[in-house]
Symmetry: D2
């Protein structure tokens, strides 16, 4: 890899919130040249015209959206980000991988290793089950080495990111009962994407709070898959998401039954060992509780915890920005790994 020339990066499907967040991060990334953005809807318009917040940026003034076209995408990009609906991503991503492109997929299509689980949770046959085994789950703290070499990275969902990072070391350690995990999550409205549906109108969300996707939200499939890997057996997790009136942010509150006697220090040591030197994990420990406003527009995950001696449960709470750490920032962290850049590059 030539370090001197910037990485040419294409975004297929750049018109949603995940795509826009990628644009934000990549326009500011010192090692990247945003080389291609596709959108059927906006073809012919510049980035700056569609996203006025970037209108001053020379690249946003120059770069026009184009229709998605495989050969052009391949030729103009060293790395391709896919910010497409699930189902669509499997096909386009598959074709790109077939012809040698390195792909970072933001959809759910390559997150699951088992095509039948995909069908169970997403309600359709997987278009490219042959690629599932080789795809890497893009959680850098867990799969750093695999991401470096990956041809195809499947970025985790926003809820799973906020849940797996706290849970994986706990389940691996055996300190908690993996069969009794329970999670309540709260998400800002951009988590639904730029879906033009009545449920996401301002006046339907403002002054509203509501659980949804009960009891079997799609993100359970990847949460359980990853936990099963470290637990060494099939998992069933309880998970309830709630929609809350803010733009950006997820809080996940995770309840675990402790296996042994309550031991604050053991939990602290465990988290410090797992994440103490990670650039994007902030351990709040027992002093502080997480708040989404502290992670807004950043790639950080803040993790706090408390042991409840009355119930012998551990309560772990995490906060992320669903669009940055939960989606596009984490994808850029993967890009940095894949290109040998410092992991913080463009994510400061």
């Amino acid at each position: 890899m030539t370090q001197n020339r910037p990485t040419r990066v294409g975004i297929v499907g750049a018109s949603g919130y995940a795509g826009e967040e990628l644009v934000r991060l990549l326009l500011g990334h010192p090692r990247v040249e945003l080389s291609l953005v596709t959108s059927r809807q906006y073809a012919g318009k510049t980035l700056g015209e569609i996203f006025p917040r970037f209108a001053h940026h020379p690249r946003a003034q120059a770069l026009k959206f184009v229709e998605p076209e495989l050969s052009r995408t391949r030729e103009q990009s060293d790395i391709v980000f896919l910010a497409l609906p699930h189902g669509v991503s499997a096909e386009i991503g598959g074709s790109l991988v077939d012809t040698g492109s390195r792909v970072i997929d933001l959809s759910a299509d390559f997150r699951l290793r088992d095509a039948s689980v995909y069908k169970e949770f997403y309600g359709q046959e997987h278009a490219r089950p042959d690629l599932l085994a080789g795809a890497v789950y893009g959680l850098p703290e867990i799969y750093r080495r695999e991401i470096v070499e990956a041809k195809l990275v499947a970025c985790p969902g926003c809820y799973p990111t906020s849940i797996l990072l706290p849970l994986l070391p706990l389940v691996r350690s055996g300190l908690v009962d993996a069969d009794r995990i329970l999670v309540a999550s709260l998400s800002g409205v951009t988590g639904a994407g730029r879906k033009v549906e009545p449920d996401y109108l301002f006046a339907e969300c403002n002054e509203s709070m509501r659980p949804y996707g009960v009891p079997k939200h799609r993100h359970l499939s990847e949460i359980e898959q990853e936990l099963a890997k470290v637990a060494g057996r099939k998992m069933a997790v309880q998970f309830t998401p709630h929609l809350v009136p803010l733009n950006r942010g997820i809080v996940s509150t995770i309840y675990c039954d402790l296996v042994g006697p309550p031991d604050d220090e053991a939990i602290s040591v465990l988290f410090r060992e797992a994440y103490g030197s990670e650039p994007f994990v902030r351990l709040l420990g027992r002093k502080q509780l997480p708040d989404t406003k502290n992670v807004a527009l950043t790639n950080f995950i803040d993790i706090g915890w408390r042991i409840d001696p009355r119930t012998r449960r551990l309560v772990v709470m995490s906060a992320i920005d669903n669009l940055t750490r939960g989606t596009s920032g984490q994808a850029v962290q993967c890009l940095n790994l894949m290109r040998g850049y410092a992991e913080r590059e463009g994510l400061a």
Copy 2:
């Protein structure tokens, strides 16, 4: 009781959100005359001057805040509402009860039957432990008969209202494991009262979500007391509240382990039998999930549920307006019972 003359109602401590909500409801109550409002801060001002939203109301134009004074309060009121901080309420409420007033207390002071639990959770000695045995917990669906005759009603906290109404019939029925109950709640910012503290400034709450009071929020004391009564043994519940950027509303998501095999119909029957004819409980059943915007400014509690066959858990979700059903509306429902009025009076 003379039905022809309106009930004279006094509010001691009418300057906070609970007091203001009482004013809103009582000004519109056809059987009530708001006879006295006290506030050290606002003494001498009319209700309409302090709360411009009521400025058109003849009573709000006429009625002036006065300094709290026991004898006047007693003389001018058939029923006294106390909207005071805990600790203060016990003393003033006690003196009023001593001299024969009927009191509806919105603070936590008379909710617990055990003064040592009060001390454990509220950090101070109870001023009037002699009154605890006689106070009635003001949850009308559960203590309707006792409220009718009560001298001293202790209105439940906002979280407990949203949690106990769904849980009490479940625990009583034995269908769920009372020892493994877990609750995640979300509250709008008026839940903190009109506290002038940095944490509750607009820019600290807007675009913010955060858990707090982990793991031992004060409301646990009354939740566990009431559940213990129907369970017949000591309880320890897991409860995590979260602060969310809206004005009014609580959502509680309650997780229960089912004791027997999953049986949707049994749960439905149970809830219908418990609340099918209640004027202020709306059972959403399996069709719908609760949303705070459907209960805003009303005395309703909306209750929905789902069985998760994968985990054999029952997930029950409730929504209330924390100021109406969670505080002042429920207090007015108690007033209606105490005065023999139709329970919906003034709460339509």
Copy 3:
């Protein structure tokens, strides 16, 4: 008119925010029976299914949406409210009026007396110009007498309501220069209706403020028409609306050049004479400034003012709830007039 039997009221187009607000008000109106609600989209469903906030109401449980059909609408309603897009309203409203129905139209279709102005501002030919002369502009404080007898009431737009009520007495009085009027208005997002468009998604409105419709918003046509009537000549007003992230509310700040020397007392007298005995106008005078939170969910308009001695301008500020006073509440006020009910009935 028989006072003993309730007025049967139909709503044609009850699925938008204006229609839902009518439902809210009419379900609580003691003299009204909601007899018919039409909606192509929701035909066959009950009111309670579509609007869960009314699910407890017996009428909302019983009444099903039906397809709009002229003869049924006519037969089942003493008064018909139209909550339809402009253009559609003219046709349906016209047919109803032709066959003797009394109609209260919430669209813009019958507000203008001149079909060419309609075409200029709404970009289409008027379907029923023959009805324009007979329609009554539904601003009760100004056209009370005409509304009582009206066959066809055209309810004012939300901005015009907030602007005309303060301005009409001023312009009529000659105290201000009618040729130099300037208005800046702010509106909550329900003002756009339940339009499922990207611009009104939560995340596009939250943390956003923006002017729009500059310089020639459609509501100027009715503002200028009504001012011209009292000024006795053609008017051109400057008007800029802004979209602001809240659900309900309009604030209009109105600037007038004083013709004579600044005279606070003259302005106060003028407003008191115009509105001192009006049930839904609250004059804040010089003590207070309006705030939308004081009028939310009510039919009040709050009007405050200040003279700026430095510029010799009068600044008048009004606040209304755009859905209640700005749309459906005012329409119910008209209904009360048309049926001989007390003007406050159902609007307390």
Copy 4:
């Protein structure tokens, strides 16, 4: 000036929103070392403890708040930012300037050239009138040259920034009638600072909109001073601010009477000549209207305009982030000028 060593920057009064925004910008500034932060309230705590959003930053972990002390401030800083209440700033700023420090003041204390105007608008004697003549008004587009050499920069208020940048070229050009300027502004709640007062509690601001400071807001003093300079005579501007429920942002809508015939092209040329090559001004021209969400967390001002041929008025609309462009970002832009750095440094 040594380019190789970073500029040591101190912030006196770093605990409010302006101070926190300075911290955010300066921690990311490649040429700056944040060398000192003072706060009586937080002395002894690290930046990271008080502002958890910066907790990962090595400098925020190391740097502790100290009590404000003149000699230390002077010794440890090449440039001192003052983020203090007005009145306090004049004294401390004066002392620092006396002993040779270069000061960038965010308060109102050094914005006015005339101490009697200060007294009129701020209600107190100016502590250091001797410094007023030498202070530079920190609007970089207008006073760039003076800022480069300045000892004492007085950063403009947030409203004045949003108003003066659009207006100054217009008034200077003579295309508009300087005697009839009228401005309506909308501000997010951080504009009030971190004031712990009931008016700024979440539930008092959310779902609320309200004008305030009518008719003589303090910021008029600097607006009129700067306009008078280019107009060559005393000015009286009409200005009404409104408080709106969002965190960050100001929209100003400015009305000018055109002196000659409406000429879109002349206005465009004027703005292009004034600001076409400015790094932080984005001219939206006639295609687009400004929206605060496009400038959030940036130092840009977006300026759009429309001529109304019906009234022969020019309507100019601007949007800024009140904390960045309106306060601390603009201050950093001044710092860059004072230290010979590229103007965009640390503000990208």
